[in-house]
Symmetry: C2
Subunit: 225 residues, 2 copies
């Protein structure tokens, strides 16, 4: 297993909350999991720290970041900013190929969400849902013609997931999600840029405090770049 594989594996474990928030990450311990030396794990942890998925302090090692409602709100704001911008650009440059891809991604996600909605226990579906949800949101911005924007978005998305991996399993949430995703799809296929921005905002703003939600909605009305 190479350094890059270990990096990818740790990244996945961090965003699926395989570790506890605040937990110490010791290279000497983690090397057991991967059958390699501590230095190799250390290199991977350094990369993850630059990305913000791991906290690093000199001479006192690595830790999983603590849970923070403030951070979650910040990340939500940035997701709204980047996804709204990226989706509008996709509407302009994407063409039919993008519309087809988006429809497909939505269909897949919608299918899984309906199964969760019907099932008594959503736990076994969470892995599938996770992938489909990411795929849908990535497809939204996939035709924006900016690799930098996409890279920034996935980075924010990962930190968002790390902060927010629970409470996502109740009936009401899934029910709302189905409606939200559908509203975004319809607005985007219709080419209605402002409505698309609005629906992306509405979808993500549920992760903000009620007070912040109003503030953010106000901002939505102002003009941007």
């Amino acid at each position: 297993m190479s350094e890059t594989d270990i990096y990818a594996s740790l990244q996945h474990r961090l965003i699926t909350n395989d570790f506890e928030h605040g937990e110490k990450l010791r290279a000497e311990q983690l090397k057991q999991d991967y059958g390699c030396s501590a230095s190799t794990v250390r290199e991977a942890l350094f990369r993850l720290s630059t990305e913000g998925l791991v906290d690093f302090q000199e001479q006192r090692g690595f830790r999983v970041p603590l849970k923070s409602p403030i951070l979650l709100a910040e990340l939500t704001h940035l997701r709204i900013l980047l996804e709204a911008e990226g989706t509008v650009l996709s509407i302009r440059h994407g063409g039919v190929a993008w519309e087809a891809k988006l429809t497909a991604a939505h269909h897949q996600l919608s299918h899984i969400e309906k199964r969760i909605h019907a099932a008594s226990d959503s736990a076994p579906f969470m892995g599938l849902w996770f992938n489909a949800e990411l795929e849908f949101h990535q497809t939204l911005i996939s035709a924006c013609n900016s690799d930098s924007l996409k890279a920034m978005h996935i980075q924010i998305y990962r930190k968002f997931r790390q902060q927010h991996m629970d409470a996502d399993r109740n009936f009401e949430f899934i029910s709302m999600n189905i409606q939200h995703h559908h509203a975004i799809l319809v607005a985007a296929l219709d080419g209605n840029e402002n409505l698309t921005r609005q629906k992306i905002h509405d979808h993500l703003a549920r992760h903000l405090e009620p007070a912040k939600r109003v503030q953010s909605a106000e901002l939505a009305k102002s003009s941007s770049i």
Copy 2:
């Protein structure tokens, strides 16, 4: 010299173009510069690769990213997006303290730019100008109440600088810059959010191809989050 110091030093060297674009970065060579072992340099290079300031390929080491007009355009777009958003938030939350800080930062920058404008050779001022320019743009977004937005901005800014460190030395550029920075300051102190967005856009859009500039201006008129 600790790993963190080496990381910071290499970061600075990379964004001031101390290395050639495309140059190979050998840990075995760089260790000479810092009097440490190759592994320590390697760890720093890994961190920089995650940040996008260094390209990494398994089994073929590290390289300084090539110059790319496309990448510069993408980074410019993201700077406009983040700085416009951050500045509008600062206008709302900053209060008098922020206005004072912004005025001070502008005064400092303006002073240096006027000296450059008067001088025959701008080269000796570039270091000062670099710091003052970054300080001004960071102060714009400093009261946005989002450490995540600031972190994202500095990351984009560094990559922008790495891509764009020349051609910044001619008369016309500095002359325009003085006007641009002043226009942003006035609009921000006036609390005029839309005008501030517009001026930030105008200031940064000079790094876009003429065609892209129009496109970007259109986008500026649409509403955002």
